[in-house]
């Protein structure tokens, strides 16, 4: 499915900055990120470990904890700024309007409470006057929705497999039909078969609820299979965002391109090519483009000037100095697979 066009966005993130205070100064884990999300849209966010995906996901719900802090920016959810809400409003908004499927579903369930209590907890916190029987019925319904047997409700988290826990978290996240679901790597610890099952469940739920989904992951394949639109994060920034097909077939940002190239297929055997070098330390970002030290196309300007996102195609934006000079990414220069590879 594709996103409806001229509708107001349900979630609009503007210039979000999240910093971790460290002994060496603030680490800019989310650096001036703006994205918007239409109702019912599926947005994938990928990026390598430490690029700020989880930080971003938690910041969307204002769950950032010290030493992290939301330095600036706004997160408008259906016209209301989450950053400006009172504690009470915030509590009511969470789960009811925006829900999180946490990264570590394995450890996101209270080990000493039965699953049903944890689901009921969530419902009771937002609705009043529900009878126990009604609650039980709702729990059963939610579990069935995610493909779990009703009997599972009586179990403790440790009695569930990883996939089941992930589904349980999903059941909780969808219990109040939120408008936005943020799913932070919901399947990274699962094997492919279970991964597929879980993602399909999520897709089905999303269809049913009409909620917008932000799916976070580091696996381009997985995100491609699920999302309508994909954003690529690098060192706290969204370096490129666009419709999924364009991102895979015609990536404009060199990093996206390298990322796609590093993915092996199962059709033909090919050389495995990684991206040389390391992401920069977040407390000490290079002055220009954060990717410039690793970029095969980097030139002088990249080292001095931070590139701003710009349209590079149909609904596709990239933050790269190659544009608008180039209309597409030039062919890859071939160089030794070395840390200090330069164009």
């Amino acid at each position: 499915m594709s996103a409806p066009k001229e509708v107001d966005p349900v979630l609009e993130v503007t210039n979000l900055n999240v910093h971790y205070d460290t002994g060496h100064g603030p680490a800019k884990a989310v650096n001036d990120v703006s994205i918007s999300l239409k109702p019912g849209e599926r947005l994938g966010l990928i990026g390598e470990s430490g690029s700020g995906k989880t930080t971003m996901a938690t910041a969307l719900m204002r769950l950032t904890r010290p030493p992290g802090r939301i330095a600036s920016g706004s997160v408008m959810l259906d016209g209301k700024d989450i950053m400006a809400m009172s504690a009470r409003e915030l509590r009511e908004t969470r789960l009811r309007d925006i829900a999180l499927i946490p990264q570590g579903a394995m450890s996101s369930l209270n080990p000493v409470m039965r699953l049903e209590e944890q689901i009921i907890d969530a419902i009771v916190a937002h609705t009043s006057g529900m009878k126990r029987a009604a609650l039980n019925a709702r729990v059963e319904e939610l579990l069935t929705n995610v493909g779990l047997a009703a009997e599972v409700a009586r179990r403790f988290p440790h009695e569930l497999s990883g996939g089941m826990k992930q589904r349980a978290a999903m059941a909780i996240a969808t219990s109040l039909s939120p408008k936005v679901i943020v799913a932070d790597e919901p399947t990274s610890a699962l094997d492919v078969v279970v991964q597929r099952q879980v993602m399909q469940t999520l897709g089905r739920l999303q269809d049913g609820l009409g909620a917008a989904v932000v799916l976070i992951g580091h696996d381009m394949g997985l995100v491609a299979q699920f999302a309508d639109r994909v954003g690529v994060m690098y060192a706290g920034k969204i370096v490129e965002i666009g419709p999924v097909r364009q991102m895979i077939e015609a990536p404009r940002h060199p990093y996206t391109r390298l990322l796609v190239d590093s993915l092996p297929g199962i059709k033909v055997k090919q050389a495995l090519i990684g991206i040389p070098g390391l992401p920069p330390p977040l407390v000490n970002l290079p002055p220009g483009c954060s990717f410039s030290p690793r970029c095969p196309f980097a030139f002088e300007r990249c080292k001095n000037e931070v590139p701003q996102p710009q349209e590079v195609g149909d609904r596709q934006q990239a933050a790269c100095h190659l544009y608008p000079e180039h209309s597409a990414l030039p062919p890859m220069p071939v160089g030794p697979n070395d840390t200090e590879a330069q164009p």
Binding site: M61, R94, S107
Partner: protein, 334 residues
């Protein structure tokens, strides 16, 4: 009950028996390692009682020796010791012949349990609550200043605290009775007057134990709670939009308390040996005082009996913790 649970319980029970066996054997050996002759020592105190100077020592010690079974070979004594234990017979007090040690312990026990266990539990509960609150983000000013004060109090051994409390509240201010379990002229009945009198007397000693322990629990709880609050399930609970109180109690404290339970059992078990001085200082009629007097008088079987009590109760408490732990922590219930 699952097979695994049965096996778990059986293993634990086996361990429990083994520990009891070892500890009780140690307890058998301890007084027998004492130099000198326990009977002579027992007679010694009689002689200082005056007037008994014309008792025939030889005859008496022989008759005592036979009476206490101390003329048998060691291995036989050991066997008899176990037999007696099964009959709950702890022997007699030399100092208070023919009083049974079990009777003496039975008389002292309620006082100790009433005072020390209650005080320890109160300290545990309030301390844990304070510690948890301290770890909770945005703890109030009150708690932030209260807890360090508690820490300082904890730094003073509680028998020393008892001295200070007596000085201020019993000697200088005279708000509380300084010593004893009840008023000397009180006829004990099951009525309010008696209860109040008992509480009145228990207050200062209890306070010294509570104040002396609260910070310890607060600190332990604080670090457990900080660990727990770092867990993902707390973040997820927040993401669920739960009220803070719910998160605090059911997601935070509930998990943090788990780690404190074993410590509680250990400290409950050590309550008596740790609080001997408190009881002595307050002239409180509990096990601590009993043990103190027995130690000073080297009253052989009484020391052995009280120590046995302590050993067994601690082992039992630890065993109980093992038993209820699976109930508290479903993860162990496999």
């Amino acid at each position: 009950m699952s097979k695994e649970l049965q096996r778990y319980l059986l293993t634990r029970f086996g361990q429990f028996l083994l520990i009891i066996f070892v500890a009780v054997s140690i307890n058998f050996i301890i007084p027998r390692l004492l130099p000198g002759d326990p009977v002579q020592t027992a007679l010694a105190r009689l002689q200082t009682a005056g007037g008994a100077q014309n008792v025939d020592i030889q005859a008496v010690s022989a008759s005592y020796r036979a009476k206490y079974g101390l003329d048998a070979p060691l291995i036989e004594q050991y066997f008899n010791y176990w037999m007696d234990l099964f009959r709950l017979d702890l022997g007699v007090s030399f100092a208070n012949f023919p009083e049974k040690v079990s009777t003496m312990i039975g008389n002292a026990l309620p006082w100790s349990v009433g005072l020390l266990a209650t005080a320890t539990l109160i300290a545990f509960l309030t301390g844990s609550l304070l510690g948890a609150r301290l770890a909770w983000p945005g703890a109030g000013r009150g708690i932030k200043t209260l807890v360090p004060m508690m820490m300082v109090l904890t730094s003073i051994p509680f028998y020393l605290l008892a001295i200070i409390l007596i000085y201020f509240f019993a000697v200088v201010l005279r708000w509380f009775p300084p010593a004893g379990g009840v008023d000397t002229t009180r006829i004990m009945r099951f009525d309010w007057e008696t209860t109040r009198d008992i509480l009145n007397h228990a207050l200062l000693p209890a306070l010294s134990i509570i104040l002396g322990n609260i910070g310890f629990w607060a600190l332990g709880m604080r670090s457990q709670m900080i660990n727990v609050l770092g867990e993902d399930y707390i973040t997820f609970a927040e993401a669920k939009g739960l009220p803070p109180r719910r998160i605090f109690v059911w997601y935070g404290m509930r998990n943090a308390l788990l780690a404190q339970i074993t410590a509680l059992a250990l400290s409950l078990g050590h309550v008596v040996s740790g609080a001997i001085l408190v009881e002595v200082i307050f002239n409180y009629p509990g096990l601590g005082s009993l043990l103190y007097v027995a130690i000073r008088g080297q009253d052989y079987f009484v020391i052995q009996g009280v120590v046995l009590m302590l050993i067994v109760s601690l082992a039992v408490l630890l065993f109980i913790v093992d038993l209820i732990y699976p109930l508290l922590d479903p993860r162990i219930r496999r």
